[in-house]
């Protein structure tokens, strides 16, 4: 399940990289915003579907704000500038959450009773299965959008070269916000899945998850959506195997060791991403 959440955050990141060559560091913040909004509204007594919908809206709106202040201004600025601004947005979102809710770990009420299935000795919780199905469905819709529709074709043109796309009459100023909104929706959806499944949220919940999402993206190949999903599942698997083999203390060493090894030996990822030279930081 955690693997699926890594995969969703990885997809949110890789979509921005793939189309805009822009590593959006605010995505962990959007993940947190999705999780904490869900918690806050459920806690205020609203039914969970309403809270979930609100979390998605918050994610999309926050992503639009990020677009206004990063990509729009800095498309032609130095290569590190949009990256830095998106990092500043992560700081901003985290500390707004701390200012509003405090920095404590918050616990969600148990929403789904004991909706577990038992198949032999295996316990599968129903919300996990539903969450996983939704994640796969969303990712599938995204890949359909990219391959089959006019918007998808336009986005792939922007991915090739945004200036050429502009010359060819692609409406960049409408499509780029769309990329951010889709990324924001994925991040917020991952956040609300996390909140509903693990029932614990706090303002810095995005950092660890976001870093795993980045690892998922790199391992699968930057810009490659199915690669990010495979990367997320691989990281989930490495974590479980590493806990079995060396104990819980070595989880991060294993995951980031794998990331470093991939970056050095095969920077385009296991499943092919964009060429190393073309990537701007």
């Amino acid at each position: 399940m955690l693997g699926a959440i890594y995969a969703m955050v990885g997809v949110a990141l890789t979509f921005g990289i793939g189309v805009l060559r822009f590593l959006n560091f605010s995505i962990p913040g959007l993940f947190m915003a999705g999780g904490m909004t869900t918690w806050a509204l459920v806690n205020a007594g609203l039914p969970w579907p309403v809270a979930a919908a609100a979390a998605l809206v918050v994610g999309a709106l926050a992503a639009l704000v990020v677009e206004r202040f990063t990509w729009r201004w800095m498309r032609h600025a130095g290569p590190y500038v949009p990256l830095v601004s998106s990092m500043a947005f992560l700081l901003l979102f985290e500390n707004l959450a701390v200012a509003h809710w405090g920095s404590d770990l918050r616990t969600m009420p148990r929403l789904f009773g004991s909706a577990d299935w038992r198949i032999g000795g295996l316990v599968i919780s129903l919300p996990q299965v539903v969450g996983l199905a939704c994640a796969i469905g969303l990712i599938w819709c995204l890949s359909l959008l990219l391959r089959r529709t006019r918007i998808g074709r336009a986005l792939r043109t922007i991915a090739e070269d945004s200036d050429t796309a502009l010359l060819l009459g692609v409406d960049i100023h409408r499509l780029v916000p769309l990329v951010f909104v889709i990324s924001g929706l994925f991040a917020a959806f991952a956040g609300l899945l996390f909140a509903l499944n693990y029932r614990q949220v706090h303002p810095f919940m995005g950092e660890a998850l976001g870093l795993k999402g980045i690892s998922a993206m790199v391992i699968g190949g930057m810009g490659n959506i199915w690669g990010a999903i495979a990367g997320g599942l691989i990281i989930g698997l490495v974590e479980v195997l590493s806990i079995d083999a060396f104990g819980a203390d070595f989880v991060d060493i294993s995951v980031y060791g794998l990331l470093l090894a991939i970056l050095i030996l095969r920077p385009t990822g296991l499943f092919g991403g964009m060429p190393a030279e073309g990537a701007r930081a």
Binding site: G78, M87, I264
Partner: protein, 256 residues
């Protein structure tokens, strides 16, 4: 000098050293997001040396810096084969590995942290920071990555010996990112940029004493706006030349 003022100035000096640690590789076109990991190596090595080998802090701190620089040299060959965003992410992964490794090292206290007995006051910290600044940092671009990491190690050693306590959690992602932010806010084109960036970053939150979280909110908003309006950073090479009124400035004005 009041304890508060000394505290602020010590943090300023350490942050300045960190800013140059990020600036050196960046001036050579490498984005190092792993400054925190090298600061951790320097902090822990120097703390271990002064605690367990009774080495004086003024020797232990450079030793920590050398250790960080050495680790950087060893990993530089494979890591520098990557470029652009891949290099940034590789340095970042390295920093995460260092942090998790320290969390599991019982000799230095693991997750509980590591008290440091030797204490250094502001003058020592400031002397190191000035030393870093006086070096003409641009002269060393060839080994920028390793030298930057050496500086990060020194910053870690200064921190350990002034605050007398270090823990792996201090050397986290945010530390590495803020070091890069110092440089980018100040500007990458001039040697003075990182100094100004570190000063603004350290003193502005102190000046904006609202409540801790709102300080950071305001601070993040300032970075975003500053980057939008002035992506080249606060100071540029051309401004410095104009300010000093050298021949270069006149030439440039004629050209413009």
């Amino acid at each position: 000098m009041s304890g508060y003022l000394e505290g602020v100035l010590v943090v300023l000096a350490i942050n300045t050293v960190l800013a140059y640690a990020a600036f050196l590789p960046m001036a050579a076109g490498q984005l190092n997001l792993g400054v925190a990991g090298f600061a951790a190596i320097g902090g822990y090595v120097s703390a271990y040396a002064s605690n367990n080998a009774a080495l004086a802090p003024v020797l232990a701190i450079p030793l920590g810096g050398l250790a960080a620089g050495f680790v950087a040299l060893v990993v530089a060959v494979p890591v520098l084969r990557t470029r652009g965003i891949y290099l940034a992410l590789a340095t970042f992964a390295l920093s995460q590995i260092v942090q998790s490794a320290i969390l599991n090292l019982e000799v230095v206290g693991g997750a509980a942290g590591f008290p440091v007995t030797a204490y250094i006051r502001l003058p020592t910290v400031a002397a190191f920071a000035v030393g870093v600044f006086v070096l003409d940092v641009r002269a060393f671009q060839v080994a920028a990555f390793a030298l930057g990491s050496l500086l990060a190690g020194i910053a870690g050693g200064l921190y350990a010996h002034h605050f007398n306590y270090i823990e792996a959690q201090y050397f986290n992602v945010s530390l590495g990112i803020t070091a890069v932010l110092y440089v980018l806010l100040g500007g990458t084109q001039s040697v003075l940029g990182p100094l100004l960036g570190a000063a603004v970053f350290t003193l502005l939150p102190e000046a904006l004493r609202v409540s801790a979280q709102w300080r950071y909110v305001l601070f993040a908003a300032i970075i975003i706006v500053a980057m939008a309006l002035r992506p080249q950073g606060l100071v540029t090479g051309a401004q410095i030349r104009r300010l000093l009124g050298g021949a270069g400035a006149r030439e440039q004005e004629r050209a413009a």
